[in-house]
């Protein structure tokens, strides 16, 4: 029974990992671009949620939407002012730019909100659901389910819609896409908006149950990297599976071996998998 409880908890958390990793994988796969500031988008989403609750009131629907919309905007602005230009440069300049951006965003939040740990009001989605003895806090249940729905939604957007096929066309072959009359710049801006927006909404969903401070993004950034590499760069379903698997492995190893070993297990498996299957779980062999 306890084991089942552990598994459910791990999967619910893994669903959130999946959501914010899917944003990272999108721009990684589409533009072959590493974003070290992705965890900071999650952090900003948390603070937008807090600001919304404090100044506008309203429930989880409102603050999740406002986090998504705000971060979508921030993502596009960052693309237009920075990423568009450094993309043409060497890979090292890209690493440099997003690392600097991460510091900038983290400490801008630090300046505005101070370093103190904050949480959303205790009453937000505070119920507990009991399914045959398995306890699921309402906040995590809703967050997990919404995260999976959104991740699947993002995948459908990419594969089933006109805009999605234009996005993928740019990812596949930028020049060919241009010949077809697609403007790659617009599509890439859209991708950055979607990536930041999904990270923002993931942040808002997590903020319901997790206390946070400006340095919280660091942890999420690394987890997202692992999920994206594991799932294969550019694969949203890959990020979904990888997120769920990481959540599950973390929970099980924390339960069986102890909390300090959960990251050791994840990184060790990750390194082993890279060795055996360098293209990731869902990636295509190159």
């Amino acid at each position: 029974m306890l084991l089942l409880q552990v598994i459910v908890g791990g999967l619910l958390l893994g669903a959130i990992y999946a959501l914010f990793s899917s944003g990272l994988t999108l721009i990684w796969g589409m533009m072959n671009f590493i974003n070290f500031a992705h965890g900071e988008f999650v952090m900003l989403g948390m603070y937008v949620a807090l600001l919304t609750v404090t100044y506008l009131g309203g429930g989880p629907v409102l603050f999740s939407l406002s986090a998504a919309v705000t971060l979508y905007g921030i993502g596009i602005i960052i693309y237009l002012t920075l990423i568009r230009h450094v993309m043409k440069g060497p890979m090292l300049a890209q690493i440099l730019s997003t690392f600097g951006l991460a510091l900038l965003l983290r400490y801008a939040a630090f300046w505005i909100f101070s370093a103190n740990v904050v949480s959303l009001p205790q009453t937000t989605l505070s119920g507990i659901v009991d399914v045959g003895g398995i306890l699921m806090p309402m906040s995590q249940l809703v967050a997990g389910v919404v995260a999976i729905v959104l991740t699947v939604g993002l995948h459908l957007l990419l594969t089933r819609t006109n805009i999605g096929s234009r996005l993928l066309a740019v990812a596949e072959d930028r020049n060919a896409a241009m010949l077809m009359g697609i403007r790659p710049d617009r599509m890439q801006a859209l991708a950055w908006g979607l990536a930041a927006g999904s990270a923002g909404i993931a942040g808002a969903l997590m903020a319901i149950s997790y206390p946070f401070s400006p340095s919280v993004g660091e942890t999420f950034g690394l987890t997202a990297f692992v999920a994206v590499t594991l799932g294969g760069f550019g694969s949203v379903p890959g990020a979904l599976y990888a997120g769920l698997i990481i959540g599950l492995i973390q929970a099980l190893s924390a339960y069986w071996l102890g909390a300090i070993y959960k990251d050791i297990v994840v990184y060790a498996m990750f390194a082993a998998l890279l060795w055996l299957r360098p293209q990731g779980l869902m990636g295509k062999a190159s």
Partner: protein
């Protein structure tokens, strides 16, 4: 226009200050360099402590006769040193031990400080005290967990706060008292974050428990930036200890309390080891689910009218938050340093050191619940002690030891029930 008027005002003020000074020949200020984490993961603690020191400076440098026996409160500056004021230079080591070392060098050689104070992270206290040892400048460790910061044969290092082994011994005395009242305490769980702080305190508690015949049912070290602690709570649930002691930072302390509620697990008693449980964010985050949780604190705001209450009001006016135990212990260590600077009557490092060695503050001269401040030959305060407090409603109340208690211990804790 505005600028010039400011300038005029400044000039006038300068004249006003310097005029009597030329007559009385006021002593040069004594400089203290402070090395803290003001950015990085421990920034919140550093920032809160910075505000506490600013309040302490106000108390020392200005007249505050309303603060009773607190040394240096009633007078302006350091009377023994010709009324010299203390000025401080705050620096930020960012949690990096080599930056702490660099700052110590800068403060000693560049800013010519007469004493150093810091450094929160044990790692940074290790490297910064080594510099002050090489240069022969006294270093007051306000608050750092690792036991062996004092006791390395250093002449110039002092520590005003209790250390891990003191806390561990306190818990054991408390358990003995509770057992006398018929509570069952046979097994405990130790849940600790795995950096220097959690590791040091956990090891000390385990050792003391062994000595006192209490068995440690389970040790749960974890990383403070965990996003999920459910597996750890389930591990506890399985072992079902009589008391669970948590050595945690803020976010993880809140997360643990919420997760215990979510998984419907409540041990008879939870004791938090200060830090996260004393953070002003803790109570608003968990008051609905953590009623009766106990916490260690040598700081007690007390009733209106008391010295401690007034100090808290000053702090609150500055920051909008109540003074927490960690910052208060830093503040107390700073008062002990100021007291020694005053008795030294000079800025000569040797004299300051001699005054620190001779420190003997009585309980009525302190803002904390220590039995005094007196340093042994390693530089450790041997009279430091601590209270235990318990969350009742929206505030902690002092419940142990009995002589100081404002309320009774509620055992078992209520949690959310």
């Amino acid at each position: 226009m505005k600028k010039t008027s400011h300038l005029m005002a400044a000039l006038l003020a300068a004249v006003a200050i310097s005029a009597p000074a030329t007559l009385a020949r006021a002593a040069d200020p004594i400089k203290v360099g402070i090395i803290w984490p003001l950015t990085g993961n421990a920034a919140a603690a550093g920032q809160a402590s910075k505000a506490a020191i600013e309040v302490a400076l106000d108390i020392i440098n200005n007249k505050h006769p309303e603060l009773g026996d607190l040394p240096l409160a009633a007078t302006e500056g350091l009377p023994n040193a010709g009324g010299a004021k203390i000025v401080v230079e705050f620096t930020d080591h960012q949690g990096n031990p080599s930056t702490a070392q660099q700052l110590a060098v800068r403060l000693i050689t560049q800013d010519k400080v007469h004493a150093l104070f810091g450094a929160y992270h044990s790692s940074c206290s290790f490297t910064a005290t080594a510099v002050s040892e090489r240069y022969g400048i006294p270093f007051m460790v306000g608050e750092s967990a690792a036991g062996n910061i004092t006791g390395r044969g250093f002449k110039w290092t002092f520590r005003g706060t209790p250390i891990a082994s003191d806390y561990a011994a306190t818990y054991m005395r408390f358990f003995a008292d509770m057992k006398k009242q018929g509570r069952k305490i046979e097994t405990i769980a130790i849940v600790n974050e795995n950096t220097d702080y959690g590791t040091s305190v956990a090891a000390a508690i385990e050792e003391e428990a062994k000595k006192n015949g209490i068995s440690v049912a389970i040790k749960v070290p974890y990383s403070a930036n965990s996003t999920d602690v459910a597996p750890q709570v389930l591990q506890l649930k399985e072992k079902n200890p009589d008391v669970a002691i948590f050595i945690s930072y803020t976010a993880d302390a809140i997360l643990f309390m919420k997760t215990m509620r979510n998984l419907n697990y409540l041990p008879p008693m939870v004791i938090g080891d200060d830090t996260g449980f004393s953070d002003p964010s803790f109570i608003p985050g968990v008051s609905a689910v953590a009623q009766g949780v106990m916490n260690r604190s040598a700081w007690d705001i007390g009733k209106p009218g008391t010295t401690t209450y007034k100090i808290n009001e000053m702090y609150k006016a500055k920051t909008g938050r109540d003074l927490d135990d960690t910052s208060a212990r830093n503040m107390q260590s700073f008062f002990a340093l100021a007291d020694a600077l005053n008795r030294a009557g000079s800025n000569d490092p040797e004299k300051i050191r001699a005054a620190l060695v001779a420190t003997d503050l009585k309980p009525n001269q302190l803002m904390m619940g220590y039995e005094g401040v007196k340093f042994d030959q390693t530089g450790q305060n041997v009279l430091a002690a601590t209270y235990l407090i318990q969350l009742k409603g929206d505030a902690y109340q002092l419940v142990w030891p009995d002589r100081a208690a404002a309320a009774k211990v509620e055992w078992p804790m209520k949690g959310w029930k």
